[in-house]
Every structure is written in C-alpha cells, then in structure tokens.
C-alpha cells in the first residue's frame, strides 16, 4: 500500500462539464484500479490524495503528470502506508449549478468534506487540512472526523 498527495494548477478554469467528466472518468478508472482518496478543486487549484497498491499508484501518478489539463504538479508525499484510510474515491468542488451534481456518487460540496480520517498519521491529516486550506481558503472548517475506511466490513 502506498499513498501520494500533490497540488497543481489547472491550465484553464474547469467548467461544470469538465468537472462532471473528470468526476465520472476518475470514479470509473479508480474503481477499476482499487484506488481510493479525495480530490479538491477550486478556482484552478487542484489537490489530490490517493491510495492503493503500488502497482496501480505509480502508473496513475505518471498519467497525472502527463495530463494536459493541469500544470505545476508539486508532489507533497509519496510513501508506503499500512492500510487504506478512505473507503472510496470522491471529489469536492463548487459547481456553478450544484443541483446537477448532488445526486452524483463521489461528489462533495467543499463544506461537506469530512475531517481527515483518524487512521491517518497526524502529519498526513495535517497535510490534508493544509491542502484543503490551500484549495478552498479558510472559509470551510472541517467536519467531524470521517468514519474510517472500514474495509473489513466491505
């Protein structure tokens, strides 16, 4: 198991359609590769933490680096972990028309993003708090801690 976190800048602002496409595409691909995590997007700022088996994680980051939709990819952490902390893969952003997204699996409004799972180390949880702050600014206080991945129940 391994996880990677990075921040980056979108080459151009993402429209609702772009975000919709990104969400469905990532949900589909990540499900196939058993990748879980969370992606934040706001005003061209992108941050993502994803976790999974190393055989899936490294090629995914390679694809992310080559993705023409963003640039200035700055890897923050890349290290082995004992277990998953996220139950699935989700994405948090402010769509222009939130109604169109509410029903979508894996979509979160930024102020509904749960606090980092307690299974993360404090350093990693702080990193997620910091990237969320960097992407969304200080207006979205974290929610109560999220339930842990609970893979044993899945």
């Amino acid at each position: 198991m391994q996880h990677i976190a990075y921040i980056s800048r979108a080459v151009r602002p993402l429209t609702d359609e772009d975000l919709h496409e990104l969400l469905t595409q990532c949900r589909r691909d990540n499900k196939r590769h058993h990748i879980t995590g969370v992606l934040f997007y706001s005003h061209g700022n992108i941050a993502q933490l994803f976790e999974g088996e190393s055989e899936a994680i490294d090629p995914l980051f390679g694809r992310i680096l080559r993705d023409g939709r963003h640039s200035h990819v700055q890897k923050l952490i890349d290290k082995p972990i004992a277990a998953r902390s996220f139950a699935d893969w989700s994405m948090a952003f402010h769509p222009l028309e939130p109604e169109a997204f509410e029903a979508l699996q894996g979509f979160l409004l930024p102020h509904h993003v749960p606090a980092p799972p307690s299974t993360l180390t404090i350093a990693d949880a702080m990193l997620i708090d910091l990237v969320r702050l960097a992407v969304f600014g200080g207006a979205t206080p974290p929610q109560a801690p999220a339930p842990t991945a609970g893979l044993d129940q899945a």
Binding site: I77, T121, I122, A123, D129, L130
Partner: protein
Amino acid sequence: MREHSEQTILRHVPAGVATLQGPELCYGFVNEAMEAVLGGPAPEGVPIAKHPGFLAADLLDVMQRVYQSGRPFIAKAYCLALPGPDSPNRYYDLTLEPFREASEVISGLLLFAVDVTAQEEARQQAHRLEVETRRLDTRLRVLTETVPQITFTVDAKGHYDYVSPQWYYFTGQPPTAAVDAIWPLLIHPDDRLRVLYQAEAARAAGAGWSYEYRLRRHDGQYRWLLSRALPEQLHTPGEPVFWHGALTEIHDQRELTEALRRGEAELRFLADSIPELIWTASAEGFIDYYNRHTSEYTGLTQEELGPTGWVNLLAPKEQAEAARQWVHSMATGEAFEGVFRMRRHDGQYRWHIIRARQLADGQGLRWFGACTDVDDQHRLREVLQTQYNELARTNHDLDTFVYTASHDLRQPLINLRGLFEELARVASFDDPQASSMLQMVEDALAQLELTIQDLAATVQDQRGLSAPAERLDLRSITDEILLGLRMQFVQAGATLEFDLEGAPTLHYGRANLRSILHNLLSNALKFAHPERPAHIRVRSYLQDGQPVLSVQDNGLGMVVPSPNSPGFRPFTRQHTHVPGAGVGMYLVQRILTSRGGHLEVASTLNEGTTFTVHWTAAQPGE
C-alpha cells in the same frame, strides 16, 4: 488570293492593326483588335478625327505630326479611358509608323496597338509596393533608432552590415569608427574569447544566439549586456546570410540577481551555521527548507521529514494540538508559537520553543520558523520551582510556628503572672532584698509578654506584606496611630510637628503603612531622652520626584554602623534598658524592601535620630 489570306490573318491577330491613309488620316484597313481599341467598327475612308473612338485629341495631334515629319513614334503604356463608370483603364503601346508609296512620299500611317494593361498594372503595383516598402523601412529605422537596445545586422563572416546609432552612443566611438575591428576590443577581456567563439560557432551552424557579456561603455565602465540574434529566415539561396540582433543592457538586473543570490546563499549559510532548528515553509504551510542543524538533531533528511513530517517529532500527546495550531496559523496568518517536546535522533525528547512568522515580500508569502532548545532552562526552572515551593512552605510553616508558639505561650504567661501576683500578695519573705527581687521577676514577666506580643505582630504583619496598594492620606493614618499611642505620648510629654505638604498622600498598602508609621512613632516615643520632653517632627516630601517620609526625634540617639544600610536584625536591640523585643525596625525594613524601598537612618547619641523612609526604588541615574 494570297493577299486575301494575309488580310484574314491580319484581321485576327491579337494586336490592333490599322492603316490611316492620306493627310486626313482616313481609316483604311482596321482589324478586329483595333476595332475593340477604337470602341466599334471604323468606317473605311472616314478621317480619324471625325471618328476618334476612345482616342484622345492629343494622340490625334501626335499622329498628324508623325505624318508630317515622317518619323515613327511609339506611345508607351498609353491610357485609354474606356467609357462607363466600372470600366478599368486599358493601357496600350501604340506604334505610329509612316508608310510610303513607291514615290517615297508619305501616304499614310500604320497604327499598331499592343495591349500592355497587365504589364502596366504590374508596374504600378510594384511602384505602390516600393512606396510601402520605403514607408516600412522608415518606420523600422525610427524604431530601431528609438528603442533603448543596440540593434545590428551581421553577416556570416562576422562583418557588421548595420549597427544602430545606440552603439555609438553607448561606446562613445565616433561615427567613423571601424565597428568590425573595434567591437571585439571593447568586450571585457575575460569575456572576449568566449563571445567571439560563441558568435562564430552560431554563425557557422546557421543558428541564433543568446549570451551575456560585458561591454565597455563610453565612460570606461564595463556593463553587462544580453546579446541575442537570429539568422534571416527568408534569404535567397546563394546570397549572403545575415543575422539580425539586439543588445540589451542588463547590468542592473544582473547585479540585483547576483545580490539576491549572494544574499540567499549568505542567509542559507547563516541558517546552516546556527545551532538551532531553522526552517521555512510555503504560503500553504508546507516546509520547504530545514537547516543543517535540523537534520543533525533529528537524524532525518529533508526528504524523510517531508512537508509536514515535523509533527511526528513531537511528543505524541502534543502532536494533535501542534497540528491544529499550525493549520490555524496558515488560515489566519497569525504567528505560531508553542513549547513542545521534540524527539532527538537518539530518542530523547527535549523541550523546544517553536516560533514561526510569515513574511510577505515581492516573492510572495513565506513562513520562517525556528525551534529553540530550552530543555536545560525548562529543567532548571522546574528544579527552581520545586525549591521555591519548598521554601515558601517552610517559610509559611515557620511563620505559623512562631505565631502559634507566641499565641500558645501567652496563656501560660498570663497564668504565671496571675500566680505570681497571688504569691506576692499572700506570701511573705524574710529576705530584705525580697521586694526588689519581686520587682525584677515582675519586670521580667512584663518583658516576656511584650516579646511574645511583638512576635505575633511580626508574623501578622508579614502576612500582610502583599496587601494591595491604595491611595492613602498620611495625616489621617498618623492620627489613627497616635490614638493607639496616646498613653505613651502623654507619658513622654511629647509634642508633634507635621509637615506633609510636599507629599500629603501615598500609594501604599494600608496595613504596611500603618505598621511602618506605628513602629517609627512608637520608637521615637520609646527612646525619648529622659531629660527633655520628646519632640517629633514628621515630614513627607518629594525627593527627585519620589515620595520620602522622615521621622525626626530628639531622643537618645544610637550608633549607626552605616547610614545607608542600618541593617536592623530581628531581636537586636540598641538600648537594653528600654523595654522592647527588637523586632520593630526589622519589620519596617522588611516591608520597605519587599516594596522596593529602603530605610536610611542618621543619629547622634544623646541628640536624636532621624529615620528617612524612601517608599519606592531610587530611579536609575540618581
């Protein structure tokens, strides 16, 4: 037949052909092309002047002259204005050729018209282009001579085809200077060979170049310039290739960059030399630099620590709070400060003050932090705190003991006195010294009682040492005390003199002020000279802006070891014949010292004593 076929050929040739006959220049043979030029069929035998078609009068005039002179004439690119608003002008080369009959007399004109409209339009277009080119050229020249850069054109061999006037302004060379020869000489000797090589290599490769070098300015100073040039793209094969380029002065930017780089290197060196943990973080709160001491202390590299790994170094119980505080600082921009235990490479946790502040400058927002090892201080403080607590407790116990002891001793003393009085009343003694003995016992008992009372008072007053200060009226406090000393006052036949105008009030603890005044006044009464009535003078005034109280008597006086440090110790007594426990002045001194003041005493034996109370600490510089 043959003539007919020739006529047919002539009729259809694309050039206009016509014969004009006789001095009247009447139309003879006119082919189709010429009919088009004339704008319709030309009736044979009609003079051309009568039916000129599109031909203008000036041409008819020239025809007459050619006919008369017999010299042929070609009107080149003659413009025929065709009727109709949209008809374009047509251009013809019109050849007027006189023809002669056998008699050598001119009998008419041959007229040829070749349509040269296309050529003429091309020529006019070329002219317009030339004008436009000249305009662009002028614009380019103005621009190249106006921009602050030096512009140049150089050929493949390194010969300068063009150098803008700025080169002459910059170098101070005369306009007649041989640029090719002088330019390399003006390059800084340290850069010269490199520049010449790079330029030649680029020209040989047919590539552009961009390099920096120092060029000598007119004032002799070498200035950094950026030289950039590109080869001409649209050159005709076989013709010499040119490179066009510009020189930009980048001296100031380069110096600034150099200064910044040096400053950064110096700062980094400084940070690496300090035996403290120094680090910087991005605006988002990710640590991007740890100094050398950090890796020495933690035993971890920057990669191992990572952007948030420092939290892992803290004591596990403190991590969550430190993380919360750090995120809060990032969200609000507030400085980060806390005392945390940080793990050393050997596993030992040492106390550190972690501080970080944000700096917003031209390069954006950044955080600068330091972790100061305060472990030794922290441990020392803990030891001192423990010792202080012990001392305070011991002191308190001692006070309690003294108070309790004095209190507990009172009852047996009262009993003792009662018993003694009873004994004196009922018992009779044969000894003639009995009465004086009895008196001595009684005196000793009174002395003991006083001592015990004073001991109790000492403890009580010490407990009031930290009473809150308030604004107090000296006169009214003094009056209260004199009420209590009324008996002694009367006994000593004392008179009092007040002079409180200088400082009538005082900011002090009430119980303390009472205690001090009580001791000073009762002392003055106690040590009154037996041969004269006591006269006490109380003054309150400002000395160097600080309140001072003096109590002067005309009593017994005493020996003062040193006027500034009287050094009163408890239970030390100057006049053993006067009853007292010897704790009074000790108490006064303790109160004063605890509030930053001090006591001065001046005394002459058998003349009197003056106690001067300085309530507050002397100002520095006095």
